[in-house]
Structure formats: structure tokens, C-alpha cells
Symmetry: C3
Subunit: 336 residues, 3 copies
Amino acid sequence: MKLSEIAGIIKGSLTGEDVEITGVCGLDSQKPGTIAYAQDRKTLEKLELSDAAALILPTGLSCNTKPFINSDDHKMAFSKVLDLFNPYKPYKREIYPAVYIEKGAKIGSNVTVLPFTTIMDNALIGDNTVIYSQVYIGKNVRIGKNCLIKAGVKIDDETVMGDNVIIHHNAVIGGDGFGYMQKDGKNIKIPQIGRIIIGNDVEIGACMTIDRATVGETVIGDGVKIDNLVQVAHNVKIGEGTVIASQSGISGSSTIGAHCMIAGQVGIADHVGIGNSVIVLAQSGIGSGKAIENNRVIFGSPARDAIEEKRILASISRLPDLIKSINQIKKRLKID
Amino acid sequence: MKLSEIAGIIKGSLTGEDVEITGVCGLDSQKPGTIAYAQDRKTLEKLELSDAAALILPTGLSCNTKPFINSDDHKMAFSKVLDLFNPYKPYKREIYPAVYIEKGAKIGSNVTVLPFTTIMDNALIGDNTVIYSQVYIGKNVRIGKNCLIKAGVKIDDETVMGDNVIIHHNAVIGGDGFGYMQKDGKNIKIPQIGRIIIGNDVEIGACMTIDRATVGETVIGDGVKIDNLVQVAHNVKIGEGTVIASQSGISGSSTIGAHCMIAGQVGIADHVGIGNSVIVLAQSGIGSGKAIENNRVIFGSPARDAIEEKRILASISRLPDLIKSINQIKKRLKID
Amino acid sequence: MKLSEIAGIIKGSLTGEDVEITGVCGLDSQKPGTIAYAQDRKTLEKLELSDAAALILPTGLSCNTKPFINSDDHKMAFSKVLDLFNPYKPYKREIYPAVYIEKGAKIGSNVTVLPFTTIMDNALIGDNTVIYSQVYIGKNVRIGKNCLIKAGVKIDDETVMGDNVIIHHNAVIGGDGFGYMQKDGKNIKIPQIGRIIIGNDVEIGACMTIDRATVGETVIGDGVKIDNLVQVAHNVKIGEGTVIASQSGISGSSTIGAHCMIAGQVGIADHVGIGNSVIVLAQSGIGSGKAIENNRVIFGSPARDAIEEKRILASISRLPDLIKSINQIKKRLKID
């Protein structure tokens, strides 16, 4: 593809030679003939010396060594270029052999189902949805349009999800909530009879788990993005547009507002209430029943205001010296 | 179902109108026509104003706005009501088409096997056990009666489990223990030839992993309940009735006693010995080879007595102020 | 098998009666007729009183109560004995019924494929590789010789791996990298068009996840060993021979050198650079963009030199006493 064609598609302005582009590269994957993206001057300086054939740059930056395309909306421009060279083409629209679909299931038009997938009674699959191999879809499940369900995903009975949902491999939607009562020294299982509601435009990571509610609903709001290996327990509610990074866990009945950012390996205990636009930094822990106001940035275990936590962490590194000072003072004052 | 019928089934006493009940609700899922449960006065006050049609209450509490059922054993009563309205009915007892069962496997009576499940030679499946789709059961595996194995579970060769075991989707029973020796700068794999023994009445979470022993056995005792995404390494022994919350990890050869409660995201290193009825609070870390006595409550990383840890955590938040005090003192005493 | 035969195979020297050996045991799994291994005097003392019939010992140690085999290379000797009694025999070399292999896939000689596995177009499977049930292998995937892919593993399009790779059950190779840009309050997905390269002699744990690169490659070097439930994000590079324990997570674009040891539940943020032969102790956290030099041992969250961290941890336990001392000093000096 000619660089000028790319410039046309992303509505950018081309400076320099109209070279042929065969792919996309990054700093750690340079290849002749490819196009790369620098979002700032620092990256640009490194890419000027790279093997890349051309660059995409924000308006205002220019490159001395290669042709480049300037774009006002440079991130989106780069994203479009990635799509131009995307080798992960959709599978052809068909029901493959060796699938098990119960008669009562309703399959929309242009649906793809790969081999060894099971779809149980009364499930409903929306138009243009692609379902890979070894997926299990239980009774009464509702899946919207244009969804992508990767291999090995398990969606148990009664789950409802919207359109444009992506679920990565081996994710589990619909395990039982983890609830027991103690009786005569035994753990007696509490039936988990609720269900899971997933909105539109949600992305769910590989090997992550969402439990259904004890009663009522576990809710994943529109536009929520969840990374691999995250745990979402029974009756959790996650607000619109919230992003949760890998290996975080959210315990039963906790609520997270809209547009929050939960970093990796965060633990949120049960019955926590987190407001909107809250940022929780990595490896933080939020104790049972805590409430976090809108727009806070919190950090640490137990989590507190991030600025305060960073001040405390800085103090901790000075502790051995503080002990020396105190001993010196006590000696001076003749305190034992 | 009439409220009086429910009262009869759970052996409670009804006060107020004998209304029709169509389901169960919670505080976050109120619906007209449903019954809810308040275990204490605080929840009762909120539910009095809810849309619920009736309540289950401990003996001694009463509701001014709705009919209610009092029960001495109120938790168990509510659990029974959940079961009355449970939409997750068992699948019909049959071997579905498109399963692969080797001739040498022994399948009990009334067993259900859903499509695309593989059962290898000499495996034994007890009566009334239900096995979902895309399950793998290796050679010589023994599964007891009345077990429920959800979709995508993998149980490798030689595993033995008791009756009434529930295993949630995509759990893995029987990966190799993680053992290597260093030789000439290479990691040489140590063969992992042991197996896994799982008792009766065990529940195992989605996407959790249990490794088989190097030699001997990894043991999960009767009545143990393990949540999603937990790691249990080779040669671990977990005592009867112990409960382990999501994303905790137990390293090789560690032993956990009976009736312990391990909260979420706890890390237990190798060769740890934990007594009976120990409580380990969330995100704690227990170092290699440590011994924890019976009935202790521990917390922190490294974990110590929970009361002491909480005192230390309180002290840490005062650190920046302490540094100011010490600087003030040093100034006063003219110490540099 | 006679003890003398075993001594011959492992090239050790036998002392005592030439008894019949029927299996291997450990301290926690003693059985008459079995052979056990003591790598040091302390274990030897315990095993002298065990039910084991014979011992393997380092040259220089001897047992008073049982016959034993001395070996200079005692760890390797024990490893060989484990293999002699390994019940986990390979499956017969054949393509089982009920597999779905697209015509364009190239399957080497002596390959085993168990039921309900899907192999898509243009995939290449090397000689002697064994693939269990319910595995998904996408388009253009290259798998080397002598690999072992356990049940439920998902390997998405374009992944390339070497020879002698072991992948445990339900691992996911090839989820999308977790990348979004914010636009008008929405999370817009950035296409993830890179791939994953896995070297020779790699072992990958159950339910672990490796994401493909945004552009370029996520790289797992030769001889890397990764435990269960680990997360490896997009564009991560892991050097030769590095070992990563369970539940650790490595964020986007981070680099780990050769021969590192990453303990369990470690969190490594994005764009971190770790040198060679670095040891990261359990539950440590390494912040975004940090660089760690070769041969360092680090610990804590935020991670620092392990010796310093241990000194700080010791100081922290003294904090409540320090506060008392400071209060005493302030009183003496009449400071408020």
C-alpha cells in the first residue's frame, strides 16, 4: 500500500517520498518497509534511527530522515493503520460441522459457530456474532449482535449480554457465587439463583471469572473493559466505561462507579462502594464495607489517598535512620 | 406459591396476609411479588420500604409494612426458599450425543454427560453425577456419586475424588507440580508422578488450578470450599472444612489444617504449616517454612498476629508526623 | 524392579540388601516397598524411621536402617527414578476420532490428537507432538516437535513455538493485548495485530495467559518455565531460562532478562526493564518504567534491595515502641 493511500484513509498530510508500506512496526520490532508511530518527541528521536520506512506523527512534529504523515487525531490515525494491516481476519460466516445446538436455540443471521461448541435450549445468538470452538452457552442465555466469543469461553444459564461484546478465551461467565453458612461445623452451600447482566461494548479478558448473583444480578455496565485473570464476585455492579487491569479481584456485593481505572492485582473486599472516576493504583487493597468518593486517587493496602500513601512510603524508607536518631536522642537524654 | 406454603416448607410462623410469591429478591434487586430476607434490624428497616411483597425474619423481629415469616433457623430457612425458586434445574439424566467415552470407562447409573466431553480409559464415574460439555477426564480417574462437573473442567489421569463434589467451569485438576533442578545453567524438569485426592462435599472454583504431587499426594479434605482463580501447588494438604477465597495461592508442600478461613489474594509460600481454625486475612503473605498455631488470626505481609499488624498499620500512618517530631527534637537538642 | 537394577540405571553404588522396589515415596507419603530420596542429613534422619524400603542419598551419606544407593549426581538420580515409576504414560500415537482439522493444516509424523480438538487452516504441527482434547489451534500457528499440549489449551492465530514445549491445561496463548484509547469518554479498542513467539523447552502453566503484541512480538525465550495463573501482557520479552512462579503478572512492554527467578504473586508494571539473573521475591511490586540491574535481589512493594527491605520490615515491627519513645522524649523536653 502506498503511503499516500494511507494518508488519505487516515486524513493526514504526507511529507516526503510516497514509499510502499507492507506492515506496521514498533520500537522493539523494527522492519524495513513498515510504518511506525511516535506520539511524542522522545519516541520520534528513537524512531528516526530505526529501520521503519515511514512515521505517523502528531501535527507539529516532523522527521528529518523518513517520510511522515501528520495527523491532528494521531492516536486514532495509528489505530486505523493497525486495522489496515490486521492479519486477524474474521472467520467465514457459517455454522461449522460438529457443533451441538439444541432445537430451541435461536441463531441470528450471519452467525459463525466453530466446531465443538455447545448451545443449549432457548439460547439466543444475535446477528453477525462469531463463536469460536469449545464454547459452552447455557439455557436461556441471550447474546447480542456483533459479539466475538473466543475459544473455550463458558457462559452458564440465564446470562444476558448486549451487542459488540468481546470475550477472550477460557473466560467463565456464570460460576456460582461463593456463599456458605456454617452449621454444626459444616459449610452449607447457599443456593446462588441470580444471574449476570453484561452491557454493550464490553471486553472480558482470558481466564477471568464472573460469578452470578445470590439473588438479583451481577452487573457489568456498558463499555467496561476487564483484563485477564480478574475475579468478579456475586452481586458486584461495575459502572459504565470502567477499566480493570489483570489479576484484580472484586468481592461480593461491591459496587464500582462509572469511568474508574482499577490497576493490576488490586483487591476490593465485599460491600465496598466506589464512586465515579476513581483511580485505584496497582496492588492496592480496599477493606470490607469502605466507601470511596468520586474522583479520588487511592493507593496502598489498606488503600488511602495516593499522595498521602506515597508520602508514607517515602517515610518508611527512612525508618532505619529514624531508629538511629531516636537512639541517639535517648542516649543524650539518658532515657533507657 | 402462597406465602403460607413457604412458611410450611421452612417451618416458620406466618404473620399477615397470605400473598402470592413469585421469586426472591435482595436489597439491590427489589421486585413486586418477591420475598426477601433480613437477618438483622438494620436490613429490616431498609426492606420495610422496599418493593418486596414479604419478608423472612429471625424470630423476635417483626415488620410493620408487609407480611413476614419468622424462623428460629432463619439463615437455613432463607437458603431453602432460594432453592424453591432456583431456575438452575439439573439437566436430564442421559448421555448426550457427541461424547467420547473409551470402552474401559465405567459410567454409573443416571449419569449425565453433555456433548464434547472426553472420558479416557478406566475412568469411573459414580451414580447421578452430571458432567457438562468439553470436560476432560483422564485415565484411571475416580469420580464419586452426585458430583457436578461444569463445562471445560480438566481432570488429569489418576485423580480420585469423593461424592457430592462441585467443580466450576474451566478448573484444572492435575497439572504438573512446578519443579525443576538447575544443571549447567538449564532448568531440568523433575518428573511429577504423584496424584490428587479430593474428599467428599468439596467445591472448587472456576479457573482454579490444583497440581499433582511430585511423589505421594496433593490432598483436599472433606468439605473444603475453594473460590475462583486459586492456586494449589504440588503436595499441598488442606484439612477438612477449610475455606479459601479467590486468587489466593498455596505453594508446594504446605499444609493447612481443618476449618481455616483463608481470605482473598493471600500468598502462602512453600513448606508452611498452618494449624486448625486459623484465619488469614486478605492479601497476607506467609513466608517459606513458617508454622502458624491453631486458632490464630494473622494478617499482613509478612503475616503476624492480626491485632499487632493493625496496631503497626495505624502507626505507619503517623510516620510523616513522627519524622517532624524527631526533627523538632533534634533541632532542640542541637543534633545534626 | 530390583534395587540393584535401579542402581545400575542411575549409575549409583548400592549398599545393603537388594530388595524389590514397587514405587517412590516422600516423607508425607510413606509406603512399604518404595524408595525415597534424602538430599541432606536432616531429611535422612526422618526417612530412616519411615516405611520406605530403600533410599537414594548423596555420596558421603549412609543409612543405618535400610539399603541405600549413593550418587554423586543425586538430584538427577532421583529424577531418573521418578521417571522409572511414572504412571503418566504417553497416549498412543494416533489421530483420535472426532477431531476437526482443516485441510490446509500440516500434521507431522507420529502426532497424537485427542477428541474435540480443532486445528485451523495452515497450522503446522511438528513430529511426535501430543495434543489433548478440546485444544484450539488457530490459523498459521507453528508448533514444533515433541511438544505436549494438554486439554483445553487455546493457541490463537499466528503463534509460533519451538520444540519440546509443554503447555498445561486451559492456558491461553494469544488473547488480545489490553489497549484502549480514551475518546469522548469512551474506551476505544486499539487493534492488537502482533503475535507471540515461544522458544524451545518452554513450560507454560495451567490457566495462564499470554497476550499477543500490539505490533511486533511478545517473546518467551528458550527454557523459560512459567507456573499456573500467571499473566504475560502484550509486547513482554522474557529471556532464556527465566522461571516465574504462580500468580505473578507482567504488564505491557516490560522486559525480563535471562535466568531470572520471579517468585509468586509478583506484580511488574509496564515498561519495566529487568536485567539478567535477577531474583524478585514473593508479592513484590515493581513500578512502571523502573530498571533493575543484573544480579540484583529485590523485594517489597515498591520493590527495593532485598536486604534493605528486610531491614525496613524489621524496623516497622518496632514502630509502636518508637512512638512511645518519641512521646516520652517530647514529654521530657516539654514539646507538645
